[in-house]
């Protein structure tokens, strides 16, 4: 029974392989794009080059190397739910930790750190 299941699943999940080498080439090209983009001084370009490209790369790996799209539906959903919880965590924590001031409180120490830090070395791309 077991072996049947194995074969059945595995064949079912790899009816036609994507050309892995081609995918790899695209990934490397994207890597180059992100590095080059980061060299350009423009903030927007850097952010897109950094994170936009990262998202695309992650998707390509997940789709073509992990075959997550041909896997049983609940696996990708499981991962999306985990990510959703991380978003909830961010939403709940950021108002206290990311911000340094709020209603009736102010994080003097953090403000102080930012202030002195910026004076010490003003970052290039700010």
């Amino acid at each position: 029974m077991t072996t049947e299941v194995h074969n059945e699943v595995q064949t079912e999940s790899h009816v036609h392989h994507p050309n892995y080498v081609k995918i790899w080439a695209i990934l490397v090209a994207l890597l180059v794009v992100s590095v080059v983009g980061s060299m350009s001084g423009v903030r927007v370009v850097i952010l897109i080059a950094a994170f936009g490209v990262a998202l695309v790369k992650a998707f390509l790996v997940a789709k073509n190397f992990m075959h997550i799209t041909v896997e049983k539906r609940f696996i990708p959903y499981l991962f999306l739910i985990c990510l959703a919880f991380m978003v909830i965590l961010f939403a709940g924590v950021a108002p206290d930790v990311m911000k340094h001031e709020g209603l009736r409180w102010s994080n003097d120490a953090a403000k102080h750190a930012v202030q002195t830090g910026m004076q010490a070395a003003p970052p290039k791309h700010e």
Binding site: C82, G92, V97
Partner: protein, 558 residues
């Protein structure tokens, strides 16, 4: 038990300590958990004595200094949650019941299962060792808030704090291994014919708990690494003067810590459901509805965490959101309890010891549930936060969960585990001797809490309002009740050991129950089933009209 067996000759060692059999591993978890439970009870005895009879030498401990008091309360909390509730409710019952109830021979990954227990045992030993190190055990409360926990100069127990953190982290690893194993086993290894809604409720709950644990603990594992670096490598993750933020730990801790409450609640609910169904001879009232409410509890538990932090310095506007979600979660829980009560309707209730404990769980948990509303309502929580009202509230949930439901489960499955019945008379004595004093411990604490007694204080001599004799009488009452309750636990221990040898022999199915674990001999042989069963119907088919028996086992064809 396992720890003693280690020293025996290799044969026994291999059988009882190195085994990959889920039943042996379940026993290892059960006995380790019970041993830790005794330690936790002893710690409770120590600090209750100090509170009831301040500054007198406690028999079996000595004078309770402020530092020792902090260590004792911290360890009591940590042990009872992480080393009693989790291993017994999830790991012990999960390991024992899952393969038997879903009709397969073992866990899907027996060696991972064994590893999980060994990591857990290591974590327990690590925690206990912290009592012996220089400076003593960690005393910064089971929540371990930095900067107190991060800086030895503040907590004065530098080694203890690090040992505590390592022990907790290892414990998380153990339950990740175990929980994932449980989940995979139930998803993949069920008996042919056992569909989603034919799975016994307790199995559902253990799996749901494992998943909730798995999804909530991650950020805290990361946070624990950060705290470890703060302690040992002088980083400043939680140090406000070095760009860190103490509030961050509180958020990470409670993002796990609140789901954790439901991680232990749900298996307890499951155990109680099984027992009520069997002894009321009734199908669970609205099996699917209970399941849906349990799922919604699991999901909602991820969006309520900051109600532990209303006055902790979070932005007050956030408190409103978490206050609403907190009262939302009361709805599915309330519905679950209603459904349990409704299950009794039209039944034929046999009040065995197991059933008494199961019913006591429902009755007592309701009190714990409703008192939670006071604390979820942000306005009132301003006053009640960190008072004994909170302590009484969560003990009215945790004692039913970790003590009462566990006793119910042990009395119920003891025949299956060891092939003999426990003594019912002693059982009933133990029941009344546990449940009545329990209420007399915590009802007085609701009152002292309402009077403003703050938590984690070794003596109220400094506080004129708290030093009133009236309140001291209440504290003494609670302490005396605790002594009574602890005394009656020896009845259980005696009953347990006595029944192992002299209990009435139990047949395969002494309770005339329907689920699969009762179709195998007691105790089940290695490999459980002579031939693996096939499932034809849901788990709670009692009182079918026009059948000779009032129960219809899952594996019997029509």
């Amino acid at each position: 038990m396992s720890t003693q067996v280690q020293h025996a000759e290799p044969g026994v060692f291999k059988k009882y300590f190195w085994s990959t059999d889920h039943k042996i591993i379940a026993m290892q978890y059960l006995f380790t958990g019970m041993a830790m439970g005794l330690i936790g009870g002893y710690l409770a005895y120590v600090f209750r004595m100090q509170l009831g009879f301040p500054n007198q030498s406690v028999p079996g401990f000595g004078i309770v200094t402020p530092g020792k008091y902090n260590a004792v309360v911290t360890m009591h909390g940590s042990i009872m949650i992480f080393w009693v509730a989790m291993p017994v409710l999830i790991a012990a019952f999960g390991n024992f019941l899952i393969p038997l109830m879903i009709g397969c021979d073992d866990m899907a990954f027996p060696r991972i299962n064994r590893l999980s227990y060994q990591v857990f045992l290591l974590s327990a030993l690590l925690l206990l060792s912290s009592f012996l190190v220089k400076g003593g055990a960690f005393g910064g409360a089971w929540t371990s808030y930095p900067p107190l926990s991060a800086n030895g100069a503040y907590n004065l127990t530098p080694i203890g704090a690090t040992l505590w953190l390592l022990a907790v982290a290892l414990e998380f690893v153990a339950f990740l291994l175990g929980g994932i194993n449980f989940t995979v086993t139930v998803m993949n290894s069920r008996a042919p014919g056992m569909k989603m809604f034919d799975i016994p409720f307790v199995i559902w709950m253990i799996v749901l708990a494992s998943v909730v644990f798995m999804a909530s603990v991650g950020p805290l594992i990361a946070g624990a690494v950060m705290l470890l670096f703060d302690q040992t490598m002088s980083t400043g993750f939680y140090d406000p003067n070095r760009g860190g933020d103490p509030l961050l730990w509180q958020h990470l801790f409670w993002f796990f810590g609140h789901p954790e409450v439901y991680v232990v609640l749900l298996p307890a609910m499951g155990i109680v459901a099984e027992i009520i169904a069997v002894f009321a001879r009734k199908k669970l009232f609205g099996y699917k509805t209970i399941l849906y409410t349990a799922w919604s509890v699991g999901v909602l538990s991820f969006v309520v965490w900051a109600h532990h932090q209303f006055v902790a310095g979070i932005d007050p506007r956030m408190a409103n959101i978490f206050s609403i979600t907190t009262l939302l979660i009361s709805i599915p829980i309330a519905e679950m309890v209603f459904l349990y009560i409704a299950t009794l309707y039209g039944g034929s209730i046999r009040l065995t010891t197991a059933m008494l404990f199961a019913l006591a769980f429902v009755a007592e948990f309701m009190i714990g549930g409703v008192t939670g509303i006071f604390l979820g309502a942000s306005g009132v929580d301003i006053y009640l936060h960190d008072t004994y009202f909170v302590i009484a509230h969560f003990h009215y949930t945790f004692v039913p969960i970790a003590i009462i439901s566990v006793f119910a489960g042990i009395y119920f499955w003891f025949p299956k585990m060891f092939g003999r019945m426990m003594n019912e008379t002693l059982g009933k004595i133990h029941f009344w001797g546990t449940v009545i004093p329990f209420n007399f411990i915590f009802i007085p604490l609701f009152m002292t809490g309402a009077a403003g007694d703050q938590r984690r204080v070794y003596s109220y001599a400094q506080f004129a309002e708290q030093a009133r004799p009236a309140l001291q009488h209440l504290r003494t009452t609670a302490t005396v009740s605790l002594l009574v309750m602890l005394a009656f636990q020896f009845v259980f221990i005696f009953n347990f050991i006595w029944s192992l040898r002299n209990g009435k022999r139990a047949g395969a199915n002494p309770w005339r129950s329907t689920t699969l674990e009762w179709t195998v001999p007691s105790p089940p042989p290695h490999g459980n089933f002579a031939e693996l069963p096939t499932v034809y119907r849901g788990p709670y088919e009692y009182g079918w009209p026009g059948r000779a028996d009032d129960y219809w086992p899952q594996d019997v064809p029509d």
